[in-house]
Every structure is written in C-alpha cells, then in structure tokens.
Amino acid sequence: MNDRVSKWIAGAAAAAVVALASPASAQTTYNIASIADFTGPYADIMKDLVGARRGAVDWWNEEVGKGLGIKVGIKDYDGRYDAAQTASLWPGIKAELNPVAILGVGGPDVAALQGRLPADKVPMFMSTAAYGFAWKPDPWIFSPRPTYGHEAAAFFEWFRGKRGIKGPLKVAIISSEASPAYVDIAKGAEKFAKDNPDKAEIVETVFTEVQPADLTTQIGRVIRKGAQVIDIQTNTAAVVATKRALQALGKTDIAIMMSSHNGLIASGKAIGGMKDLEGDYEVYGMAVPTDEKTKAHDFQQMVVAKYKAQVTWSVASVMGFNQALVALRAIEAAARKVGVDKVNGEAVRSALMAAQLTSDQTFGMLPNLTYTNDAPFPVTGLTANIATIKDGKYVIAAENVPVPVIAKW
C-alpha cells in the first residue's frame, strides 16, 4: 500500500471516529438546582434526600439521557429551611446554573420562590404533600402528593373500613399554630369531615406548642369525646407527648396517625423504641420504605449497586427519588416535545401538564400522576400507602388506598 492510499484510509478512519463520536459531543446539558437543608433543622435527613436525587439523575443520564442526547447536571444549595436564605440564593442560582427545574424541600422554599418562578419561568418540584394555602391555579411549584388533609382522609376511610365502623370515624387532631402549614393541615382534615359527616367527625382540634410540656389533660378530654384516632401531622415531639399521655391514661387502643416527616421511624427514634408505637400508623402518597421487596425498593438498590448512590432506604430517600424522577420525566417529555436543544423551564412545565406520569415511570415511588392547571398537585385519581408497627416491625398495612376528593378550603 502506498503512502497516498494510507493517508486516504487514515483520513477516512479519522472522519469515521469523529462521526461516531459526534452524538456524545453534541449532548446538550441542562441543569437542576437542588435545594436542601445542610445546616437547617432537617440537616440529618438531607444525606438521604440529596443522595436519592443524585442517584436518580445518574440513572437517568445513563439510561435515558444518553439515548436522547441530554445530560442533566445537578448542583446542591443550602436553603437552611429558611425562606430568606432561599430567596437570597435564587438570583445567584439562576445566573450560575440557568436551571430548567428546581428541587425544593419544604414550606420556606415555596414561600421564597412562589412569587418569582412564574416570572422566571422555572418550575419547582417538591416531595412533601401539598398545602391548601398553595392550592391555586397556574402553578409553577408542583407536589407529587395531594395535601396532608387528603392523605389523612384516605387513612380515615381505610381505617373506618378496617375496623368496621358504621358511623363516622371520630378523630382528634393535634396541631400547632407555630406554623401556617400545621394549621392548614388541620383545616384539610376538618374540611373532609365537614363535607362528609357520615364518614368522619373531628371531635376536637387541639393546638399545642411545638414541644408540648404535657398533653395529658387535652388527650383525656378528646378520649372523653370518643376519639378513635388521633391525627398528628405536625412533628415527632407532638407524637411523643401524645403517646406518653395515652400511656399515662392507660389508653393504648387509640391509634395515632402520622405523616412522612414525623412518621413511625422518626417518632420511634424520638420516643426511644418502635414498641411504643405498636398499632400506630403513617400515611402518605408515596412508597413506604419498609424492608419488604417492592418495585421502589428494587430501584433504590439498583442505583446503589450500579451507580454507587449514597442513599439508604428511608422516607427521606423516597422523597428525594420521587421529586427527582418527576422532574427528570418532565425534562424527558419536554425534550421529546420541543426538541433536545430547546428545553427550558417553560417547556418542562408544559410537558408535565400535557402527559400522565405513570407509576411505572417513577418505579412505584408514586402513583399515576395527572397534573392540571387547577392545582399544584393532581386533584383526582391519587392513592396513598399506609404503614404500621406490627409485632415491633415496620410493615406496610395497605397500598394504593384511594384518596378521597376534598373541595378546596
């Protein structure tokens, strides 16, 4: 072979290499801003929450993004569970990342950004349940779960059926005016009871301090009013104080119902052992992180094994996975709709509104989700899962319990 031919072959080979390599080099990168509380009151659970977000992004980049020609970058910011901190961070985040989506943690992030995001046209994805006061049309902040009131109502209906209660379930609510969110949570359950007097009756909503000194008197009162369930969706301190009051009064047959952020595991740690919470429940519209084999648990184990994700199987990690997967699926839908190189925050929001997100797409972390312009969460067709402590073990009590429709309050 002479030199001339060799040069032609080498040139052709080089062109082939460049051509083959071009999809990778043409990969478009979009960013997600990941707000967490590394120095705030929930800093202890953020490792799992952030680890789950990162695990989900790594999985998506490898198994979905590569095929689309998209790479999603994620960067963490410390919101300190402080609206002022999040508000002050946001202009810098926008300038630095130009994010197509934000992952938020709680009320402070919502309070800080809900007025800005419609103008900035960047959607934020939450992982907690939604709030009645944020139940407004044309949302830019999305929750994958209904309101806490909806989740509580799902439990009331399930519990009523389980116990074979013919009349309304008598519920006492322990709340606090320390946070508007806590008051809103109580209002949601009250609204359900008001509109469905044959299904639930709120015997009393007890407002306490966030760390009550003693609840024996209040619990004694609601017991006399016939409470069959005590709904506590505020914090673990209230759960512990209520349980101690029930124990002091010798009433261990009245179940406490908790949420995800103050659930059985967290409250069990705060009270000093799971045995104290035998027969109590937690309810929320996402996967329950028990040891049982579920599709969601398999996904967590897969991202740990394959993508070296630093994440255990906990309520916090389910929350991190759920919001990251919703955001990633919305980016994916936007890319298919507007084109790989034309994805922006507005396109991500439109894509989320346009299509149903199936439970399979979130690996069972969430039920099927259909967002509309009416609310920041899917108002119909949702389900919730319920966990309990049985023989000292954290187990699933019920899955895919229908979430009742509640009128806006």
């Binding site: 705030g40 009151p41 929930y42 005016e177 909503t205 407002f207 000194a213």
Partner: protein
C-alpha cells in the same frame, strides 16, 4: 356544659405548667439580679442542659443518680465558661451591649448544639414515673407535680439565700449597681459568674422536669419564651414572686386553653400569657414584686 371536675383538672394542670415556667423564669431572674442582663439565650440553656442529660443517660448509660448531678456540674461549668468568655469583659458596659451579647449567645449555643449533638430528635430519659397521680376524678401528671414541688423548694431556698445570706446580699448589691458594689469591695465578676452558673443549673433542672419521657431537639428552647411573661409579671428581681406569677400565668393559660381554644379554634392559650405580659408592661413595668427605682434629680 360546665363540669367542676374538668375545671379543677384544667386549673391544677395549668398551675403546674406555670410552676415549670417559673423554674425557667428563675434562671432569667438570677442572671438579671447579678448582672442586669436580660438573657435572651435562657431557652438555649434549657436545651443545652437537656442534651447533657440525654448524653449522660442515654449515650453513656450512666445511672440517673450519677448522671443528673454530673449534668448539673457540667451545666454550671458551661455557665461559668459563658461568663468568663463573654461577660467578665463587659463589667461596667451598658446593659444594651450585654443584651446584644446574649442574642449572639443564643445563635452560638444553637449552633454549638447542632455541631455537638446533631439536629436529630432524641429520646429524653424517663426521669419521673409516667403514671399520673389520680385523686378521684382529678388527674395530675406526675412529672409536673414533682417538678412543681422542686420548683417551690428551689424558689423559697433561693429567696432565702438572696435575702439572708452574705453571698446573696452581695449579689443583691451587685444587682443594684456595679460601681457601688465594687466600691464596697464586692467582686462583681465573681457574683456574675455565680449567677451564670446558677442560671445554667436551673435551666438544666427545668429541662429534666419539662422533657422527662418526651423528646428533645432544639425546638425545646421555646419554653424560654413561654417563661418570659412569668418573669415579667413577677418583676425581674423577685425570686419568691415568680412562684406566684407562675401559678397565675399557668392557671389562666390552662383555663383559656380548655374553654376558649375549642370555641375559637386557635391557640389563644399560648398567646394569652403574652397578652398578660403586654398589659403588665403598660400598667406596672416593674412587675408585681420588682424593685421600684427612685431616681433623685
């Protein structure tokens, strides 16, 4: 329908919670008497004391009889350290400067607790039996009852100390005026150091009663705020007066919580002590038993 038994239950429980506030308020008063400093970080001292008890009992597994006195000693040392690092340098400075330092201290202690113990909610050991005392239809939480007894004994003891012992009278002189006390040969620094140590110990005692069998994280510092109306009602110089003020604030709060909250659907009971506080500030800024200062021009 009005039930006299319910009324008594609410009244007694409220009064007992009020005496718990009084114990925390004593920490405010002891420090104020010696240094004329209103300590905004009193609630954080309660949380610090609580975490020390938790660490000794739950983490190191020490028996209560050893852990509780040790926790008191550690709290006293913490109080001394605060005085040595911050307030010994501020003798003779304006009250405003010292108050600003206590606000800084609040932020510092909160951060220190997060660094040392983490933000997790911890189980606080059961110091007092959970079973309530039941007298007929009256039900009294045992921890609050024992706590109330401790508060009365401590309050009367401290009152006697401040009014009848040489060391107590010296501290009273310091409370009157640092310069005058210095000119009389009284060690202002030592008095203030003792007050901080005592304030920290009282906070730890308060944490033990308040948190027995419950959970602990930095939110427990809110009790410092709840104790403020009690200290104001009593007047910032009266230790014995704080017992009466605690009973009044607690009983009123208990009754409002029981009878007004269910009607209005809100935490009027939590707000009411602060309404009392504002009324006191308008009518009698020195409180019921506070010293009335007469200034000669």
């Amino acid at each position: 329908m009005f039930d006299p038994i319910d009324f008594l239950n609410y009244l007694i429980n409220g009064a007992l919670v009020g005496l718990l506030y009084a114990l925390i308020a004593m920490g405010f008063i002891v420090i104020y008497r010696a240094s004329k400093v209103f300590n905004f970080a009193q609630g954080e001292l309660v949380v610090f004391g609580g975490f020390v008890v938790w660490w000794m009992v739950i983490q190191t597994g020490l028996p209560l009889v050893v852990a509780l006195p040790l926790a008191m000693v550690m709290s006293a040392l913490f109080g001394l350290a605060i005085e040595r690092i911050f307030f010994s340098r501020l003798v003779g400075e304006s009250g405003f400067a010292m108050v600003m330092v206590t606000i800084g201290l609040l932020i510092l202690i909160r951060g220190l607790i997060l660094v040392l113990f983490g933000p997790q909610v911890r189980p606080f050991p059961i110091i007092f039996p959970l079973k309530p005392v039941i007298i007929g239809d009256i039900l009294i939480p045992r921890s609050l009852l024992i706590g109330a007894m401790i508060t009365v004994v401590v309050g009367l003891g401290l009152s006697w100390f401040f009014n009848n012992t040489r060391a107590g009278l010296k501290m009273t002189a310091v409370a009157e005026d640092h310069q005058v006390a210095l000119s009389m040969g009284i060690s202002v620094k030592r008095s203030i150091a003792f007050a901080w140590a005592l304030g920290a110990v009282l906070s730890t005692l308060g944490a033990i009663i308040y948190l027995s069998g419950k959970s602990l994280n930095f939110l427990a510092s809110d009790i410092g705020l709840s104790a403020l109306p009690v200290a104001l009602l009593a007047g910032f110089e009266s230790i014995a007066g704080v017992l009466l003020a605690g009973l009044i604030v607690g009983a009123v709060q208990g009754l409002v919580t029981a009878y007004v909250d269910p009607v209005i659907g809100g935490a009027v009971g939590s707000v009411f002590p602060f309404v009392i506080m504002l009324v006191i500030l308008f009518i009698r800024p020195t409180g019921m038993f506070g010293w009335r200062t007469i200034e000669r021009v």
